[in-house]
Point group: C2
Chain length 136, copies 2
DNA sequence: GTAGATGCAAAGTATTTGCGACAAG
DNA sequence: CTTGTCGCAAATACTTTGCATCTAC
């Protein structure tokens, strides 16, 4: 079991306000990848006084602190998810919008190799697969 | 040598207006990945009467017709490039912003395999590597 | 007590759209 | 001719920010 978001805030010197606690809690409980608006709605159910500006500020702060990961999948709005130990990529169902998380060590290794080949040190990457479900 | 953008328009039944010809020409001559604003500036030098709304409408149309590829690299604005036979992915220098195009058949194959594994047919994908140049 | 956080509304970006005039097939 | 396109400006969508107030540490 990895650290909670609150623990991460403490260890990174991020001030723990009530609003941030609520946002952290909601993100921890979300197994999907909500966009800011959706997150704002979920947060509002717990504390309706939290403004959307705070949600925007908080997800940005959490992202910079390595607590959340930001994704810009097709279609405009940024979406967030809690960042835990295991890195993973995404397979997106283009019909339903469903997102499957996966890890493929071999692809990871090859990516590093490609970067090396061009004289680069890989610092980040983005891999998204878009697919349609096969009839089984 | 592959088809010109104008030929593609004809074969796809896209009406060839003067504006579209200019935008097609500029994109063909661009070896980088301009965003809409940059494209608009280049286009304006040839025909200053073309509006940015038309540029937006045209890149969208070209993208839907499979003539241009749209990329949403980190940092807001969408960027476009001409879509030719050879598919490729991108390695982005996080310091200079320089973009290197590469192809790695093995990664392509593995991606398809991952999708299959989850019962999906791969219809699209996005792979971006972000790196910093090593001192040589 | 003080630096930093919040709420609100206003301001920014990037992109889309309604509409009357116009042009391609 | 007729359908679709263009230019313009207004509208939209998402995100950021200035400022006065408030709060965690």
């Amino acid at each position: 079991m990895s650290e909670t978001i609150e623990q991460k805030c403490l260890s990174k010197g991020v001030k723990l306000t009530d609003q941030r606690k609520v946002i952290a809690q909601v993100m921890s409980q979300s197994s999907d990848h909500p966009d800011v608006d959706e997150l704002y709605h979920r947060v509002s159910k717990i504390d309706p006084k939290i403004s959307i500006a705070t949600v925007y500020r908080t997800v940005k702060l959490f992202e910079e602190s390595g607590i959340l990961a930001k994704h810009e999948f097709k279609g405009g709005k940024a979406r967030y998810e809690e960042l835990n130990e295991g890195h993973h990529d995404h397979l997106i169902d283009v019909k339903s919008g469903e997102i499957i998380e996966f890890v493929d060590e071999e692809i990871e290794k090859l990516q590093k190799k490609v970067a090396e080949k061009y004289g680069y040190k890989l610092v980040d990457h983005k891999l998204e697969l878009y697919g349609i479900k096969k009839k089984s």
